[in-house]
């Protein structure tokens, strides 16, 4: 790719935090990095991947609202985690996390367990028990 062809298609993927160095060849035949804000095909596949995530979050949200699952189900999707990863952060069995996904079991959780979950999801306990308060 020529230096002059390095794309600058901004889809706010980098949120203005930095530009990505892309290697290219300049007019003298030397390799040079050019800072780029993005490229359409890449933006497109990133958006698609996030669509999948957002979709999962929305489904989990509805399941929590309808009382089918506990708020943990919502925060797992929110943090792009799965049961195995949450279990590792919590230092408990996967099966135990699975049990906590049931609203009835979730209601009986000790304060210390709730605190731990809140810490893992980087939220307050109030937000953990009431997903309406989630502000992120």
């Amino acid at each position: 790719m020529k230096t002059t062809d390095v794309p600058q298609d901004d889809a706010n993927m980098l949120q203005g935090k930095f530009k990505e160095p892309v290697y290219s060849i300049d007019a003298d035949g030397n390799f040079k990095t050019i800072p780029s804000v993005g490229w359409d095909p890449k933006n497109e596949v990133m958006k698609e991947a996030w669509d999948v995530v957002h979709n999962k979050i929305e489904i989990a949200k509805q399941q929590v609202i309808s009382g089918e699952k506990s708020p943990i189900a919502y925060y797992i999707e929110k943090n792009i985690m799965d049961i195995g990863l949450v279990a590792k952060y919590m230092g408990i069995w996967r099966l135990t996390v699975k049990r906590h996904l049931k609203p009835n079991n979730f209601k009986k959780l000790k304060t210390s367990t709730l605190n731990k979950y809140a810490e893992v999801f980087n939220i307050t306990v109030e937000q953990l028990v009431n997903i309406e308060l989630d502000d992120k």
Binding site: M1, M13, L14, Q15, K17, F18, K19, E20, P21, V22, Y23, S24, I25, G29, N30, F31, T33, W39, D40, P41, K42, E44, V45, M46, E48, A49, W50, V52, N79, I80, M81, L85, K88, Y89, N122
Partner: protein
Amino acid sequence: MTKKQIDIDLKFTHKQSAHCENGVVSNLLGYYGVALSEPMVFGIGSGLFFSHMPFLKIGGIPVTSFRPIPGIIFKRTSKRLGLKFKKHKYSKPQKAMEALDENLKNNIPTGMLVGVYHLTYFPDPYRFHFNAHNIVVCGKKDDQYIISDPIMSSYERLTYNELKRVRYAKGLFAPKGHMYWAEEIPENIDLKSAIVKGIKHTCKDMLTIPIPMFGVKGIRFLSKKVRRYPQKLGARKAASFTGQIVRAQEEIGTGGAGFRYMYGAFLHEASAILKNDQLKKLSYDIAEIGDLWREFAVITGRIVKNRNKADESYDKAADLLLVIADREESFFKDLKSAVN
């Protein structure tokens, strides 16, 4: 007892790079007076690779990768250049942080592995659970750690708790507080033999691994898979699977086209050091192959954009992968003979 506040600022020069592993090595070496560019570190460490592993899935999608497993570039580069690094993991987070403070007090910039998901300064669309990101901690000010993150354009800061959190991220490649620092940097580095070793290793990896998932064979394998995606998975899932290939290919840190351009930059630099014109010609060859990978991304971008419709572009994408495989095969054969 009041906590004593210590300000430490090592005279560390942060340089932005494309890839974190090369960037950290390049920046750390710079601190000790060894000027080595990012492509150099990448090439000597044999960072170019290809693999498609259908059984290894992240988020339900098979993994395609343009690099070897994390840590390998670092290991190979230090071995080939005769650099000695001290490495340590800590079972207790508090110990890991104390050890870091001790290092900073002794003016030692310290590299470490961290998880990306909780890195506060990272752009949100790129925050996912990837645990093999490399950063250097190069100071402490107002109780905050000064971070040289190779992919950022300038220094960042993290609090004690924020840093502890990313150092103890969980999941695949969990860093477990892993940190490393230079122990011995030789004064005279034999760059020439290191370059040749690096090139030979890459050729070997791309041409001769007798498993169809790796190297040039892996690209042909992927082509076969991509062709079948729409029939096998349906339009929606096929788009996700193909999109993942492009996400890996154009991930931050690749410098574009799955590291192919960066490898071109390496060969270009190497040709001057080894006084080998053949390598210069080959540097443009691999850049052209990079352009083909970018074309593959363009086709995929279109597939993904029209993801709810059935699409005949999959054949086009698969055909292009076969062309790329042929080009890379003859490229690495030429490269092998150029350094022999």
